[in-house]
Amino acid sequence: MAEQQVKPSIDLGNLKAGGFIKERGKDLFTIRLRVPGGRMAVPRLKKIAEVAEKYGGEFVHLSVRQSIELININFKHFDAVVEELGEADQKVASCGARVRVPVACGGCEYNPNGLVDTQKSALEVDRQLFGTPTGHHKFKVAFAGCPFDCPKSATNDVGFQGALLPKLDKEACISCGLCAKSCTPGAITMGEERKPLLAIDPCIWCGDCVKVCPTGAWEAKQTGYNVRIGGKWGRNPLVGTLFATFLPQEQVVAFITRVLEWYREKAENQGRIRLGDIILKEGPEPLLERLRQSFPDSVVAETIPPQIINTQIGSGR
């Protein structure tokens, strides 16, 4: 870690939350920038380019979790880099056992598939929870705007996926059949008098029917987030499972806070352990029960433990 490498003349406060990563070369560090949801205002981008040119190597690196990483920064320049980035309100990210910068797709603002404002959620979580120490291990959050789930939300400790529950107003339907044709999972068939019939089981809550319907006969009965918990990637990957459906967007921060509380308690004295591995030990019921107390309308009746992915290498678990 950076703490041992630096001399006292450097402002050690800057290093506390991490984001400064030791490189191979002597004295050189990577500085990981805080870019919640991958949204980068153009003036900030210009400032980053300026700082990278002045203090860094010949390139920056775009991380998998939507960060820009400044490469080859000499530790002597930490204070100057932090200060100059600060002029454009650009902050440094975190590493270690903390809540990391949330990842998000473009959401509903300009993306035609988006059902929820993932960017707003990512900013809110970043503002309120970024850097919170977990006491155990890293804690990752991601937001997908719809069930296509480009950000792979279920591979995070808590993953949010936008969802829409459709409802039909038969009177407004002109029997064009576009909804049945657009529903990829085949949840809609054209029934008697050429009115659509919805089979709820195959429905994945993608909202495509609402988006195509020319008369507004399909409308949203509910929108919100489907929440999967306990995912992670790395040496022993887990896919998180469903703990809540149609969680209102304004409850996201409170929801993550409850999950964090439970994680902190249950992982006590277990060292560096991820949330998903705790759920594997405890079973999903205790966490479901805890969340049900605060979110009775959204938490599902039952779920399954995080799903172990067999990587076929190493005897693993």
Partner: protein, 75 residues
């Protein structure tokens, strides 16, 4: 009513072609688009609706293609 054959034209070129054809018309005029099954029939209608046009009907042809009737929306 004119029919534009968009079979074999992939996304989003089919949508852009439909858009250009609609630009030639007056609001309230109608146009038929012949679309492939699959991605085309899923995407093109939705994008036209997003542009403010009115989708009127969808018919499957004997050969398994789709005929979409659109009415040009207000500017």
């Amino acid at each position: 009513m004119a029919t534009i054959d968009l079979r074999g034209v992939s996304c989003p070129t089919n949508f852009v072609k439909a858009k250009l054809a609609l630009e030639e018309l007056e609001p309230g005029d109608r146009l038929e688009l012949l679309l492939d099954d699959g991605e085309a029939v899923k995407n093109v209608p939705r994008s036209l609706k997003g542009d403010g046009h009115k989708l009127l009907a969808l018919q499957e042809t004997a050969e398994g293609h789709y005929l979409l009737t659109v009415e040009k929306g207000e500017e």
